[in-house]
Symmetry: C2
Subunit: 162 residues, 2 copies
């Protein structure tokens, strides 16, 4: 009870803070999420919209629109999927990769700063509790979002970058 309220509150405060970093690079959370997920994916850093959808925990419509915006800015590229005529593959353009490579270090620094109140031990405990809760709610395989992890060879990874 006090848990859920604080969880929600903390997430808002944190995401508001992260947003400031993104904004400094002319990005928003949605765009960052897509770019960072692509960057984190295994080479050749190419994912399908469905994978991005699961990773970001948003609907397919949201991903279509995110990709429209990013493609319009020349940050990602949609190419037909040769293995599946229904699908496309999304990849970073050079410009997109350069941008996310500039933003990521700053993003990580912000995250570290936000968590600096926690000692290493408490942080480990915290992450373990988060992991347990997620596992109990999503199941060990992570029905909603772990696809990005599986597909990129990560099983414990930092899905849901934002």
């Amino acid at each position: 009870m006090a848990v859920i309220g604080r969880l929600s509150r903390l997430q808002r405060v944190v995401s508001a803070e992260l947003k400031r970093t993104f904004a400094a690079h002319d990005l928003d959370s949605a765009s960052f999420d897509v770019l960072a997920t692509l960057r984190r994916s295994a080479p050749p850093h190419r994912l399908t919209p469905t994978e991005l959808m699961k990773s970001g925990m948003v609907t397919s419509g949201a991903i279509s629109q995110r990709l429209d915006r990013l493609e319009g800015r020349g940050l990602v590229l949609r190419t037909p999927n040769e293995e599946d005529g229904r699908g496309v593959r999304v990849s970073l353009t050079d410009e997109g990769r350069e941008l996310i490579d500039r933003v990521l270090p700053e993003h990580l620094a912000t995250e570290r700063r936000l968590l600096s109140a926690l000692t290493g031990e408490r942080r480990d405990q915290f992450v373990e509790t988060l992991r347990e809760l997620l596992e109990s709610l999503e199941g060990p395989a992570g029905p909603a979002g772990a696809a990005c992890c599986r597909n990129s060879g990560r099983t414990s990874g930092a899905c849901c970058a934002v």
Copy 2:
């Protein structure tokens, strides 16, 4: 790093689950937040839009619109604030109070279920860590949202119900 991602992810999963409870009573998270905050406030359960704004961590425009919707459904009442000609006071109607009193127990049951994977001790640790993090980010007084707590006589309370 793994922390922030999981935090965001967990919050989404949790709030999606809570939403189902609300929907069963023809409510959404925004409306529940307002009704529950009013209900939790000290008698006579009357708050200003500014207090609701801080409690919900949303903008004043969002509160105006939430109140429009709730008032249109006859769940809350806006009355002029006699002590301050600029302001209004928001209170629950009988119908609003009855509704939130029906929803709250179910909401609490959902919260308990979501946290059932955690033992009591781990839950206490978790809440303490959340509290520490919030304090470090908002300051001890809670610049953004603690007003609702102060005004309702709570200092450690369950602000940010959703």
